[in-house]
């Protein structure tokens, strides 16, 4: 290349990255500069050398249809069963692996302790209990009468020893 030749400008011209002014300048220069003509031909040869095998493959194989096949293959993959989905959601194995079960167990114990009073509460049967568990009065004497026949329990407050309004029997 002569001193007025610019390799960098010629490369950009080759890549189509020059302005209109630069293009005119380079084309004018190429009309008489054999060195630059030769350099440009070398670049074209190199491009052809690289591009030819890619074009050849593209002609032989239709890559668009190859990609279509890949997509279909991905979409047609079988969905995992719902159990596996739930299991994955719970992710129990990784919990065990990472020892998250320690706080989990603590949480369960706390919940059980909170529920213990209602879970362990003894359910009395209706046959072996009295209706009145306790009765207390500071102001009255108290009489309790339970009738199984009438299905009624009476708590009577007695105001005086005379027991006005007290049971007939």
């Amino acid at each position: 290349m002569k001193e007025s030749c610019s390799g960098e400008l010629l490369e950009r011209f080759f890549d189509g990255e020059v302005t209109e002014g630069e293009r005119s300048l380079v084309e004018g220069h190429l009309s008489y500069c054999r060195t630059c003509q030769h350099a440009l031909k070398s670049m074209e040869g190199l491009r052809h050398l690289i591009k030819a095998p890619v074009d050849e493959v593209d002609e032989k194989e239709n890559l668009y249809w190859v990609w279509q096949r890949i997509e279909r293959e991905i979409q047609s993959r079988e969905k995992p069963p719902w159990k596996e989905i739930v299991w994955h959601w719970l992710d129990v194995t990784s919990m065990l692996r990472k020892r998250v079960w320690v706080p989990a167990a603590a949480a369960i114990v706390a919940i059980l302790l909170a529920l213990a009073p209602s879970l362990l509460k003894k359910t009395p049967s209706s046959s072996d209990l009295s209706v009145v568990e306790y009765v207390e009065s500071q102001s009255y004497n108290v009489m309790v009468y339970e009738s199984e026949k009438e299905n009624v329990t009476v708590i009577w407050l007695l105001e005086s020893p005379e027991m006005e309004g007290a049971p007939q029997s």
């Binding site: 359910t123 209706s126 009145v132 568990e133 009624v152 329990t153 009476v154 007939q168």
Partner: protein, 146 residues
């Protein structure tokens, strides 16, 4: 983070379930009756009480002063005023499959004159009577439905 969220979710569900068991509502009926020997009138709505008390007491008249239906929730007392200065307070303190436990307090001027703890099946009525009311006697008929 996802695992902690899952755990929290189950904890909340369990707590909700436990709370729903503990705080199921119970309906209680409180009838406040004035029984006396003045006349022979018996309110039709009190025929069941009259038949239950007739063999025990000599009252000839039964008059309904108040009929209150209460929605009871665990350990929350519900007060029913009777007359100025007199009231009855009912608290649900236990609930089982076939019966409920109630605490009943009769109050005069805010002070408990009677406190009792009873266990009622849905068929059973408890009658608390004795306090004077004018010429008659007050009777509280309390039953529960669940």
């Amino acid at each position: 983070m996802k695992r902690i969220s899952s755990l929290s979710f189950f904890a909340v569900i369990l707590l909700l379930l436990s709370s729903s068991v503990t705080f199921a509502q119970v309906q209680a009926r409180v009838r406040i009756i004035e029984a006396s020997n003045e006349g022979f009138a018996v309110d039709p709505i009190l025929r069941d009480v009259h038949s239950q008390l007739g063999s025990l007491f000599s009252f000839t008249s039964y008059r309904l002063l108040k009929d209150a239906n209460l929605g009871l929730v665990g350990n929350r007392p519900v007060e029913v005023p009777v007359r100025p200065g007199k009231s009855v307070e009912v608290t649900l303190i236990g609930e089982y499959k076939n019966l409920v436990e109630l605490r009943i307090r009769i109050k005069r001027e805010g002070v408990s004159v009677l406190s009792t703890h009873v266990r009622l099946t849905s068929e059973r009525t408890i009658l608390i009577g004795g306090p004077r009311q004018g010429e008659g006697t007050l009777i509280f008929a309390i039953s529960a439905r669940f």
